[in-house]
Amino acid sequence: MSRVRIAHIDSLPVDRGVAAVVSGEYVAIFRLADGELAAIDHLDPCSNVPVLARGLVGCVDGTPVVASPLHKQRFDLRTGRCLDDPNVSVRVWRVEVIDQTVTVAAEPMTVAVEPPAESAA
């Protein structure tokens, strides 16, 4: 699968998101304090406004999440699942660092994310 170059890893702020354009779509990419990278849709499905990259990151029971800056719904950065509304989720994009450059797969992951059955965290 082809990859889209986003930016040099050092230019991404820690524990915050940035937005990028991937295949004509808006993607929110997060660089977490422990080095983990995550990418989900930038579009907040609850408000239909592209703002998720501007939310605050954190964790719930060890799971990294971002909270929408509009109405604070939290999204699991690994699965895209909305913690506050089981009927809502965002797509997850594969993100990888290649030669210090952050890249995102040109297509979102199609794998259906496991439903709420809790994973061991």
Binding site: S11, P13, A19, A20, V21, V51, C59
Partner: protein
């Protein structure tokens, strides 16, 4: 020094009080004092007159020591009256032909009882109730053989006392006739008056209200025997007492060409001077600001003010408060403030208990909720506080309605409600259901909401639910957690103390030493706010950048379509034409929607994130700075135009508002802060709806704290009065610093005050009396803020790195094309 002769006409309670005060203050013996008294004895306590019937002697009631009378310090002339005053010659003519000169003449002639012109009112056996001689006559008449019935005309305070006296004199059949529909209408209003009537009935006095006497008839012996009413009803009366009010004794003033009021009384100004030179009037004979006082306390105040004026400490008399508390026939009765205020602009809170014969009514200003006055019958508990509130000497309690209840009755709180009681009426959730949920493990209100739906509709029961949950947990022995979130076991207040003590400067330090995990959208902004309050550095430096909500992160408020608003600071609402033009041009160039905010600023809406630096560069170039509309920080200080322009203004409210806004701009706090400054008591800046409200007075500023608008509007509490500029600012400094140190996250000042044990009084003890010994620290907190303040937008624009995150997409130059716009009333708004 030239001696002055002060002549006092009248030796009642007020006249004597004036003499006492003048003698006490006259160290140098400047004054020769002569007193003319009509009665044969020196002044006595007329308020306690009825106690003479209970055995108190004339000597007990006397207000003047016999030794003082004999000392010669004052020349008393008893049994004399003044016929005329020659105000040109400065002399008076006494009834015995004596002429006395004076330098200062004080009229304290008091009042005389009004006897309604009912035919037969002068038959033998009718009396007034004013002097010891009157009482002696009444006693003699009532105790004569065959006297069994008595009647009082007038159901006021004195009339009821007189009726009680007749009972005490052994009369079985005592009637009180009152023309008004209930007793004491002016003081107690209808509800209070009717309740008092119940008491009077229970005491064996027959009270007839709303009736009209026609004439008295004498019996065979020539003394009064019955009163015939206009409807033909007859009441037997072997003795009659008139107690239908008093009239000022102003005849000598009238005869001497001194101005009197339309309804009688000698007219005085605020210095208590009459229209004649060096002639003064005090007490019940005086009309001050069109008012005649029938109580002794105002007379005493006048006496003190005039004596002070004579002895070189002139202070005006500005009128008196009429609040009174007394025991009437053994019944507690009180009225305070505008006790009987009624009308469309008055709200009332009423407690009416006919079983225990208790009536309590509060009159409130319907617009402001301020307590104006009230009447209390049968239970006067709270009178002192309530009076102080109406006089502005005490802060109005938030739970004022609770004070309507008699002291013997305490309101049930949620902790003692029965299980069947409905707490959330929207969702029909009972107290028992919530207790059950707590028993099954719910420990927070949000868990209760989830488990029972209580408080999820209108939310009105949430405070009750909160109290209930806390009480239940405590009774179950569960420690109530005030932890911030799953990542910190501490409350904001504790965290603040920790950060301050350890001097942490970064999120990483705070999290690794006191928290767990990665934090969240609750603890991150909280720590950001604490770090900002304590160090006042640039709020996006270091790892603080990762803590800020998008508003703080982009120094602008995100709107519902993802665009931002721009609000420059307009201190005190004052803006120059050039700045106004600059904002207009910026709005045109960036196609921004323009709206005036409630805080007297200008809001430019619809800015794309990447345009923010360009917009702000132009705002800063126009001489303006960040308004911190995006932060939990001081927002605005609203002001009226004040004394600079306004006809009514008494202080420069705009100047003060600008000073305050520039002092606290950018001060990060647990919640947003708003202030207001009004230039006079008309309160055009609506300062009482702000966290900090300042209202100008003639002599300084009144400070109010803890107000807010929003979902649950709350008027601010009066915290301090007549402060000078310096004290005002210092008090606000400490109030804010203490709030910032101790409030919970997102807790506004009003809620914070309510949450404190002791509330406003506690805050006063800390920031005024310095009981915790931290005022120096609080002062230093604000001093650091003032010294290190920097406009965040100017700091951002000057640093390319800080500007770097204002890009829409890190890998593409394109703009966010999502917002869809429409035109509304000539401006661009979200579709």
């Amino acid at each position: 020094m030239e001696r002055r002769h002060v002549l006092v006409v009248g030796n009642g309670m007020v006249g004597q009080r004036f003499v006492d005060r003048l003698v006490a203050a006259d160290d140098g013996g400047e004054f020769d004092i002569t007193v003319i008294g009509e009665e044969s004895r020196p002044a006595y306590d007329r308020v306690a007159l009825s106690s003479w019937f209970e055995g108190r002697s004339e000597a007990d009631l006397s207000l003047v020591d016999a030794s003082f009378v004999g000392s010669g310090r004052v020349d008393y002339r008893f049994g004399r009256t003044v016929d005329t005053i020659d105000t040109a010659a400065y002399t008076v003519l006494l009834d015995d032909g004596t002429v006395l000169g004076y330098d200062e003449l004080v009229l304290a002639t008091g009042s005389f009882p009004f006897v309604p012109p009912i035919p037969g009112h002068d038959i033998d056996g009718t009396f007034v109730y004013r002097t010891l001689d009157d009482l002696a006559d009444i006693k003699r008449c009532a105790q004569r053989d065959g006297c069994t019935s008595g009647l009082v005309i007038g159901g006021g305070l004195l009339g009821l006392e007189a009726a009680n006296a007749l009972r005490a004199l052994g009369l079985d059949d005592v009637h009180v006739v009152e023309m008004a529909p209930y007793p004491m209408p002016a003081q107690l209003g209808e509800g209070g008056g009717r309740m008092l009537a119940r008491w009077v009935d229970s005491l064996g006095v027959q009270l007839h209200c709303g009736v009209a006497p026609d004439h008295f008839e004498a019996g065979a012996s020539g003394t009064v025997e019955r009163l015939v009413m206009s409807d033909g009803t007859e009441y037997p009366c072997d003795v009659v007492i008139f107690s239908a009010g008093v009239r000022p004794r102003d005849q000598v003033a009238r005869d001497s060409g001194i101005d009197v009021g339309e309804r009688g009384g000698v007219m005085v100004d605020d210095t208590l001077a009459t229209s004649a030179p060096n002639v003064w009037a005090i007490g019940e004979v005086a009309v001050h600001r069109e008012r005649v006082y029938g109580l002794v306390a105002p007379g005493y105040e006048m006496a003190a003010a005039l004596a002070a004026r004579f002895t070189g400490e002139p202070g005006d008399y500005a009128g008196s408060d009429l609040s009174t508390k007394l025991k009437l026939l053994g019944v507690d009765v009180a009225s305070f403030g505008q006790s009987n205020a009624m009308g469309d602009d008055i709200d009332e809170i009423v407690y009416n208990d006919p079983v225990n014969r208790i009536f309590r009514r509060f009159a409130l200003d319907a617009a402001t909720g301020r307590l104006l006055g009230g009447a209390l019958v049968g239970d006067v508990s709270g009178y002192e506080l309530l009076t102080a509130v109406t006089l502005g000497q005490a802060t109005q309690p938030d739970d004022l309605p609770a004070y309507i209840l008699p002291a013997s009755i305490r309101p049930p709180d949620e902790g003692t409600l029965p299980d069947g009681a409905l707490l959330c009426s929207c969702n029909a959730v009972s107290v028992g259901t919530i207790r059950g949920a707590v028993a099954e493990g719910c420990t927070t209100v949000s868990e209760i909401k989830e488990a029972t739906c209580a408080g999820t509709s209108c939310g009105g029961c949430v405070p009750g639910v909160t109290t209930l949950v806390r009480n239940e947990l405590q009774s179950l022995g569960v420690e109530v957690s005030n932890a911030l979130c799953e990542h910190f076991d501490h409350s904001r207040k504790e965290l603040f103390a920790l950060v301050r003590f350890h001097r942490y400067r970064t999120w990483a330090e705070v999290l690794s030493n006191h928290g767990t995990g990665r934090g969240c959208e609750i603890c991150r902004p909280t720590v950001a706010s604490i770090l900002a309050s304590l160090s006042n550095g640039y709020v996006l430096d270091g790892d603080q950048s990762s803590l800020q909500d998008t508003n703080d992160h982009h120094l602008a408020n995100m709107q519902r379509n993802g665009t931002y608003s721009v609000i420059p600071r307009v201190p005190g609402g004052e803006i120059t034409p050039d700045q106004l033009i600059a904002l207009g041009l910026i709005a045109k160039d960036f196609d921004l929607y323009v709206k005036i905010t409630g805080g007297q600023r200008i809001d430019l809406l619809g800015a794309q994130m990447h345009d923010l630096p360009g917009i702000w560069q132009r705002v800063v170039d126009a001489g303006m700075e960040s308004g911190h509309a995006y932060g939990k920080a001081l927002r605005t200080v609203k002001s009226c135009v004040g004394s600079v322009w306004c006809r009514y203004g008494v202080q420069d409210s705009v100047g003060m508002a600008i000073d305050l806004e520039n002092r606290y701009r950018g001060l990060r706090s647990p919640h947003k802060l708003k202030m207001g400054v009004s230039g006079c008591t008309r309160e055009c800046a609506e300062a009482q709806s702000k966290d900090v409200g300042v209202i100008a007075t003639e002599s300084g500023w009144n400070l109010y704290v803890g107000g807010n608008g929003g979902r649950s509007p709350r008027h601010a509490d009066l915290f301090a009065t007549d402060l000078d500029d310096e004290t005002l600012v210092r008090t606000i400094d400490r109030f804010l610093a203490y709030y910032i140190r101790t409030a919970d996250r997102l807790q506004r000042t009003s809620v914070w005050l309510d949450s404190l044990d002791g509330g406003l009084e506690h805050v006063r003890s800390v920031i005024v009396d310095d009981e915790l010994g931290i005022c120096d620290e609080l002062d230093a907190d604000i001093a650091l803020h003032v010294d290190t303040y920097e406009c965040e937008w100017r700091a951002t624009l000057n640093d390319p790195e800080r500007l770097s995150h204002f890009v829409e997409f890190v890998n593409a130059p394109e703009e966010n094309t999502t917002p869809v716009w429409i035109q509304e009333r000539g401006q661009r708004v979200p579709a």
